[in-house]
């Protein structure tokens, strides 16, 4: 495992574009901290976001993992191009000839995917911890470490998403097309949802949603639900407008975890199968 990872790490780290993307990713990730200093001024209405409780434990775990996940596209580019490069340089063939098995090849890529997800997770965890300790109104240990489920979900979400990217890279062979495919797939899931909603389950939107949650991107998105309506400020607005607060479940759902895990396994296995079947 160490050998496979060190092979892959060398391939990525020596590549200047990948290195720059990786470093930029972590720098931009730190800018979540800047949200703290955001001030909203509307006439006499003055508000500092940090004071609105977005950095309160345990809410911060939910908020930060949700925001940080948006940036995963940076790493997706690195992953897709690391695969596409192997094809265009002819090094995939050479690696196999040099004695790497196809299984080891896919594993080395998967380890990298996991390592990237893990690095990002640890970083977001530390960042949230520091931000929380600085801004949170609650700092009892038991409250700080409540809701760490979001950190775990974040790790799972990234691993699954990157596995999907890896699979697309192996399938499509070109980084631009693979990313294009990702976009197309995203739109495709939207269309499926529209068809289900309007066509098949017009009278029961919940059924449409329960079918949708089995699709890969949708299931990953479901892991960490949007945190905004959970904020006390928004809740207050909702109560004053609608009369009652939206009774939504924000926790990570076990079913979603299972679905996402299943997709991850499927993507890795399909990557391996494609590689095994293909003449290089």
């Amino acid at each position: 495992m160490k050998r496979l990872f060190s092979i892959e790490f060398q391939k990525i780290w020596m590549n200047r574009s990948s290195r720059i993307l990786l470093i930029s990713y972590f720098i931009i990730l730190s800018f979540i901290a800047l949200i703290a200093s955001l001030k909203i001024e509307i006439g006499s209405f003055n508000m500092r976001l940090a004071d609105q409780g977005i950095f309160n434990f345990p809410y911060i775990w939910h908020f930060n993992t949700y925001i940080a996940a948006v940036l995963k596209l940076f790493l997706a580019i690195v992953i897709v191009s690391m695969m596409a490069n192997e094809y265009s340089y002819g090094t995939l063939k050479q690696n196999l000839i040099d004695g790497l098995s196809k299984k080891e090849f896919v594993l080395s890529k998967f380890y990298t995917v996991v390592a990237m997800a893990l690095a990002s997770t640890v970083y977001v965890f530390l960042l949230s911890l520091i931000l929380g300790l600085s801004f949170s109104s609650y700092d009892e240990t038991s409250i700080i470490f409540t809701d760490l489920q979001f950190i775990a979900a974040y790790f799972l979400k990234l691993t699954a998403f990157f596995s999907f990217c890896l699979f697309l890279g192996i399938l499509v062979k070109r980084s631009a097309f693979a990313l294009g495919f990702l976009l197309v797939w995203n739109i495709f899931e939207g269309i499926v949802f529209a068809i289900l909603r309007v066509g098949f389950f017009a009278d029961s939107p919940d059924t449409a949603r329960s079918v949708m949650r089995f699709l890969p991107l949708e299931s990953m998105a479901n892991l960490i639900k949007e945190p905004f309506t959970r904020l006390s400020l928004i809740k207050q607005i909702e109560t004053s407008i609608g009369g009652a607060a939206n009774a939504k479940i924000y926790d990570v759902q076990f079913v979603d975890v299972v679905i996402v895990l299943a997709w991850t396994v499927i993507f890795v296995l399909m990557s391996y199968t494609i590689l095994k079947k293909r003449d290089l």
């Binding site: 060190s6 092979i7 063939k93």
Partner: protein
């Protein structure tokens, strides 16, 4: 349609094998199959008597397929370092092999700055990193200039002299003739000949000319060991199954009142034999 059909081949230690065939005859496909990058529809192969599975066996093999494949953004040294990790070979070999192919002074240059000849030599260095028992070279001189071709051939001879088994695929006949001890001739995925390079000279060839070539041809037919005769310009080419004594032939013809003005043994190049072999099967 099969790229390679009914091909059976055994490689023995210490020999230099040439796989010869026109473009598209299945050389690279055959090598691709045993190197596990092309899937076979049927048949079997085994490495080192079947004692190792393919990817572990490949760690004891050095192979270059068609063109040198490396990461352009890494230096020569870094690329070889990566290959060492894959092959689980000691890093200390890198300098030694770079020295052998004459690239030691360029070891910190990026691969993309290399000329094709240098890339090909780096590929050979990479294939040698694990001191392989067998070195597989597929068209190693393809696209190189005469100087580059010469360097690669010298290198191959040098490696062969150290006792490494070499399997060289090429469509260049003189290359195989100069370097190899055994040859395998392929055409449209079928094997036409397999054996020592010398063994291919099974039929001997003699040039003859006299005043009356027609009469000459008639009488040659009665000579022991005769195989066939064809005309080439004003000469006749006589093929025999065994070498003959030209003095004896001369006397034989003189006794028939045929006086030849030209009699010579023709050394047939591999090219002619190759063309003849591939023509026969048309």
């Amino acid at each position: 349609m099969h790229a390679v059909n009914d091909l059976s081949l055994e490689i023995r230690r210490g020999n230099v094998y040439g796989i010869l065939g026109p473009n598209g005859s299945g050389k690279s496909t055959t090598l691709g199959i045993v190197l596990n990058v092309v899937n076979k529809t049927s048949g079997t192969y085994e490495w080192f008597g079947g004692t190792k599975d393919t990817h572990n066996a490949l760690k004891k093999v050095g192979a270059i397929i068609e063109r040198p494949n490396f990461y352009p953004y890494m230096t020569a040294y870094q690329n070889l370092e990566l290959v060492c990790k894959i092959k689980e070979a000691p890093i200390s070999k890198i300098d030694e092999k770079l020295e052998l192919v004459g690239l030691l002074d360029r070891k910190d240059s990026k691969f993309r700055t290399f000329s094709l000849g240098m890339k090909q030599r780096l590929a050979i260095a990479s294939a040698l990193l694990n001191d392989p028992e067998i070195l597989i070279l597929d068209e190693p001189t393809n696209g190189l200039d005469p100087q580059g071709i010469h360097q690669i051939r010298d290198l191959v001879k040098k490696i062969a002299a150290q006792g490494t088994t070499i399997l060289l695929a090429s469509h260049l006949l003189d290359e195989v003739e100069k370097v190899c001890s055994h040859v395998l001739i392929l055409r449209k995925g079928k094997m036409l000949y397999s054996g020592p390079v010398d063994g291919i000279n099974a039929s001997e060839c003699y040039e003859l000319r006299c005043a009356n070539n027609e009469q000459l041809a008639d009488h040659l037919g009665g000579y022991p060991g005769f195989k066939s005769v064809t005309a080439e310009g004003d000469k006749l080419l006589m093929f025999t199954s065994t070498p003959i004594d030209t003095a004896h032939l001369n006397r034989y013809l003189a006794e028939k009142s045929l006086y030849v003005s030209h009699l010579a043994v023709r050394r047939r190049t591999l090219e002619e034999q190759f063309l003849e072999l591939t023509k026969e099967s048309l």
